[in-house]
Symmetry: C2
Subunit: 150 residues, 2 copies
Amino acid sequence: MFRLSKKTEYAILAMQYLAEKSGEPVSAKEIATSLGISFEFLSKSLQSLMKSGLVNSQQGIKGGYHLVGTPDVISVMDIIQAVSENVGIVECMTDSDCVRSCTCDLKDPMSVLQSKVNEVFTQTFLADLANETQNNQILKNDFKILNGIN
Amino acid sequence: MFRLSKKTEYAILAMQYLAEKSGEPVSAKEIATSLGISFEFLSKSLQSLMKSGLVNSQQGIKGGYHLVGTPDVISVMDIIQAVSENVGIVECMTDSDCVRSCTCDLKDPMSVLQSKVNEVFTQTFLADLANETQNNQILKNDFKILNGIN
DNA sequence: TGTAAATAGGACTATTGTTATCCTAATTTA
DNA sequence: TAAATTAGGATAACAATAGTCCTATTTACA
């Protein structure tokens, strides 16, 4: 298994929604309704994004959220880090007291992978996620076929 | 959170261990002891690798596991797929009945990410994980500093 | 031929993390 | 003041992970 949490997924989708409606504040309720997900759970993601300064919020009627910065400078890693404590692909990467550190310090297979995964997430920006259109569905289908999913 | 399961982690580490001892059968017990992990849990990973044909096994005294193929052709994706059912970064990628499919088919942010992550895992081979040496510790430390881990 | 060491794998349990909900408070506009 | 909104703590339900236990089977070798 190798999966982003729903909290992360919703954060990414919400950020993209905000990117489309650049400027005007958008309420959590509108985003939740549009994506068909739980309003209250989505709120947790938005509050985390708020804490990290990726979005700003305005309370009260006519309130809502809007992006801080433009989609071409907000990376997926920014979003992942905003909503989750640990972003390492394995425990060793985030825990300072790894029991195996003495045996795998020199040749650490996971560090190689971690670097590559990091590169993907830090070099993919909100703008990149929205740029592609029909292509994505093709990629998605290819992936499903590759994995034998009907 | 964005993490490989222990089952996957152990599978990768075990495969690398086998790669180092190319040829001779290595017992699960030896690998478990060397890595300092549960023998019985590691066995689950090895049995999955066996089912997928990435390793061969020999029962009985002097038995053990050995790689099928060389480290330069075995990809990390091969290993991930061997030990886990779902390899999509989000549910939508592996479930055919995604409730949001109608709203995000054309502009699917997750497909872009999925493709990039797939590329990392399919283009990283067992050999790549062992190639680097001192460098990895530096990368690992950089990563920890980047994330404020002491 | 018996024993020890090894894989194979089913069943089960404990733990953890995720996901979701509920509730209350604070803020803001009209 | 009322309605709509964010803020956030508490907690419950659920699912996945991680790990253990047990038994069966295979095999080398004394």
